[in-house]
């Protein structure tokens, strides 16, 4: 019998190919999402394009619109959004934390997608100022989508995410820098402007140090709340361990607590923390000690002694640097002394940290160590310059000897050539 297929083998191959195509199509389609067919073409705020939703981590993990909004995304008609299909419609602001928390607080569910992701965001949120006000019915405060976005929600590691360390401050500032929006809460709105001038912001933006503090580092993220007066040093100490340890044992801790002063913030400020200089110990407007202490009292004397020590060590290091630079520019090898300068600078840094103990004796120890190292380096620089001078004198003598030999040779050549004539 004639057939349009030549033989059974070819028919088998065709059947296998069709099956494979179908298998691939089904695998690629996974869960059909017809919502985007219409919502991609709608105008905002109903618009959600396929491209936008593709950036969303939920979409990438296989979730669809129906995961939050309900309905039947496999149907291509309006019945997809019928109550019978389980459509919940627009999620109201009031329901957002509960909806997100429905999955994100379920450790067993979340483990399937990202086992390392925390599942305490909702419980943390409830302890935050945002969560507390939300519970009282304030719908202006931040809920999940205000910080994380919606429909194009990216993981925090993505630099385009609103909660990436580089973008967190701007995300918070959207509300907290809006004086009109924040009017009812009676809190300042200059935090972001001040943070922009801080050493922390500089580290984050100019030096690309993603570990530098931003809003959430000190205030927390889901449990965001202002640190209390008594706990400020706990916040700062997460990074500034040694300073906090010194402060903890110092007389200032008790005094500040008794006066209701917020620890570190008293001298360094909060959002607008600038690079501290030794002038903080001085009596100029930049100085902080004399804001509380009286001139001539025992604390003022300790302050002056510590400042004097720091200045002396700083000058000693700079002086040694100058001599070493002169030696280096003369071609002298002073790399060992240069390493020694690093040690002297370490002593200065340590002394500046020890200031937080407010004990002159401890600070003095670091300063003396630094001064001894700087003096050794200075001596190495002077020795190098002396050696340079010695070499130059040696060169002068050698050149003179060479010139005398040259002159002798010239005269000798002239003599033998005149004799031969």
């Amino acid at each position: 019998m004639d057939t349009w297929l030549p033989n059974n083998a070819l028919r088998g191959a065709l059947f296998f190919f069709v099956a494979l195509v179908l298998r691939v199509s089904i695998a690629q389609g996974q869960t059909p999402n017809t919502c985007l067919d219409c919502h991609g073409a709608l105008d905002p705020p109903l618009q959600v394009t396929e491209q936008r939703f593709a950036n969303d981590i939920h979409s990438q993990k296989g979730l669809t619109c129906a995961s939050c909004h309900g309905g039947d995304p496999t149907r291509a008609d309006m019945d997809a959004m019928s109550k019978a299909a389980g459509f919940r419609g627009k999620v109201t602001r009031k329901d957002v934390p509960g909806l997100c928390g429905g999955c994100h607080s379920d450790a067993a569910f979340m483990r399937k997608y990202n086992p390392s992701l925390r599942t305490d965001q909702l419980s943390q949120y409830k302890t935050s100022v945002h969560g507390a006000l939300f519970a009282k019915g304030d719908m202006k405060v931040a809920v999940c989508i205000d910080c994380h976005g919606v429909h194009d929600l990216r993981p925090a590691r993505d630099t385009q995410s609103k909660v990436n360390p580089l973008n967190v401050a701007q995300t918070c500032a959207r509300c907290h820098s809006d004086a009109e929006y924040m009017k009812t809460y009676g809190i300042p709105t200059d935090q972001f402007a001040k943070y922009g001038t801080s050493v922390h912001h500089e580290a984050m933006t100019a030096r690309d140090d993603l570990s530098a503090p931003t809003c959430t580092t000190c205030h927390g993220n889901h449990g965001a709340t202002p640190p209390g007066v008594g706990t400020v040093q706990n916040v700062c100490s997460t990074c500034h361990v040694f300073q906090a340890d010194m402060y903890e044992k110092s007389s200032h801790k008790g005094a500040f607590q008794a006066a209701g002063l917020p620890g570190c913030v008293v001298c360094h400020g909060n959002h607008g923390i600038t690079q501290p200089t030794d002038a903080k110990l001085g009596t100029s407007p930049e100085g902080v000690c004399m804001q509380c202490h009286s001139p001539g009292d025992v604390c003022d004397q300790a302050r002056a002694k510590m400042l004097g020590g720091l200045t002396q060590l700083d000058q000693a290091i700079k002086g040694a640097n100058q001599v070493l630079s002169r030696a280096e520019s003369s071609g002298m090898e002073v790399s060992e002394a240069r390493l020694g300068q690093d040690q002297a600078r370490d002593s200065l840094t340590k002394a500046r940290v020890t200031i937080h103990s407010f004990q002159t004796k401890l600070v003095e120890q670091d300063i003396q160590t630094g001064l001894a190292t700087a003096a050794k380096n200075l001596q190495a620089g002077k020795d190098a310059l002396r050696e340079r001078n010695y070499r130059r004198v040696g060169l002068g003598v050698s050149v003179l000897a060479i010139l005398i030999v040259l002159l002798g040779l010239r005269l000798y050549i002239r003599q033998i050539e005149s004799n031969s004539k």
Partner: protein
Amino acid sequence: MPLLSRARIWLDERFDWAGLIGPLKKKTVPDHKLSYWYFLGGITLFFFLIQVFTGILLLLYYRPGATEAFESVQYIMTRVQFGWLIRSIHSWAANLMILTAFLHMFSVVFLRAYRKPRELTWLSGMFLLFLAMGFGFSGYLLPWNTLAFFATKVGTEITGQVPVIGHSLMVFLRGGEDVTGATLTRFFGFHVAVLPALTTLLILIHLVLVQYFGMSVPPGVEARWKTSPGEARDMKFFPNFFLRELMAWYIALGVLGALAAILPWELGTKADPFAPAPAGIRPEWYFMFMFQTLKEIPAKVWRLDGEVVGILLFGFAGLLWTLLPFFDQVGCGRGRRFIMGAAIFAVSYMFAMTIYGYMAAK
């Protein structure tokens, strides 16, 4: 009887000393206004001898190896009595030797001293120049500092671009796929054993050839002397020329000492193979014109890799230059004019590209 005379008699009785040095006493050197160019070869030899001497002294303290090389050179520079002087003289003499070797080569070209029958003298001189550059390339890495490490990396990478044998050559030079401690010990071996042995042998051949053929007289002077034989002048090699050469060596010694004392050769920072390459990586100055040319060539020339094209061009130019005496007699003076034109172009190109290379590296 003075000790010197007694020694001479002692040698004479055993080796016919007077007979041996007799030809030297009779040997003469042409004497004309361009005779001073003859000193350049001798000065190059002087710098080589200084390097042999200072190199042996450096060997007393230098330790080849990625973990010790830098520290040992630092020790030589800071702790060893006059170590700084020995190392600086070694480095400066190396550079001055390359400089005088280049000057010697170009003086030979412009005075046409390469012409028949001195083709083999020229060839031995060219191979000596290549060996001197090999000395420079291998010695540059030995202090194991950052600049030398990355320059060697770039230099050996360029070698790797040579068609067919490039990769094998690069692996052979590096002692592996990367520049490591193995490269350092390998370069040390080349620098203190292989290259000195080959150079000593070639210097002997070069000197024997120079003695055998005598010093060349520039064609213009030679023609004048032919037409007016009365104008032809010469001087005794010993002691007249020898003492003048000695004066040149003394001047070279003075310049060398001044450079070493005023500008001691710097050490830099220790090489860190895991650190990113710092800005301003550059080879020694005598490789700069080639380095800069390779940088300027586009990535693709027609269908070929730009770097490969550059290497092939330099290889071809180097081959032609080495065979230069054999083109001198080609086509009724055309070959000679071509050589002069090529020499003027080569000097200008090398000079301009070297300056440009240093300006671009800033």
